[in-house]
Subunit: 134 residues, 2 copies
């Protein structure tokens, strides 16, 4: 192969890779299962984001192995409706490939996970299992 | 420059690009504002996912312009806690750069958005504004 051909192939490869990754998260996430752990806001309820981000979420993520695609953390700021209270102080979300694998991994560690709750919050979470449609 | 140098530079560029994009969504999303529109489940409440995905969400997304980074749709499957009802039938989420720009864009279209609700659901949504921490 001559140099021009090699360069052309390389540039084509770069171009294809860039094009294929145009919307990486949207393509990669469709069909995944989300486990969203939502901490409701209420008077007197507390949440330590620093502990949650540096200790609790990494601990739980560590149980999930290769089934875990990614996890996210968000901090509640406000209700999107006027004159409504903040719905949730924080939400932690695990994106996994298989719900049954998630359940099998978390099951034996449920007590350890629950025992860590008082280290960062005094509210019981709501947990939603959902499927990424888009 | 000789051919080896050109090829080395090209390969370095490819390598750097690939490394930089290892976790594209996580890096790109931190600091973004999420507006999560959550439709609670309750007896007798309905939700038409097909209409929501093909008509309602694209309509709202169309108001948001370049401020919108992406939007996602998820379908509620179950509570993550035993013997608890499904918390939400569906959640639609807009990831935006600026909350004030979002509000300015949605404000004049609020009535049109609300008028579309009965086309796919009979439940009033809970709306959470949050910040992506990770």
């Amino acid at each position: 192969m001559n140099v021009k051909l090699v360069l052309s192939l390389l540039l084509f490869t770069i171009g294809s890779a860039a094009f294929g990754q145009e919307k990486p998260s949207a393509k990669a996430e469709k069909g995944l299962i989300k486990i969203s752990v939502m901490y409701p806001y209420a008077e007197g309820k507390t949440f330590n984001m620093e502990y949650y981000e540096t200790k609790h979420m990494p601990m739980v993520a560590g149980y999930l192995g290769a089934n875990l695609v990614k996890y996210t953390i968000e901090k509640g700021l406000a209700s999107g409706l006027p004159n409504q209270p903040l719905p949730y102080m924080a939400i932690g979300t695990f994106y996994v490939k298989s719900l049954s694998e998630y359940q099998a991994a978390v099951g034996p560690n449920r007590e350890a996970i629950r025992a860590d709750f008082p280290n960062y919050t005094n509210v019981a979470p709501v947990i939603l299992v959902s499927e990424v449609v888009r």
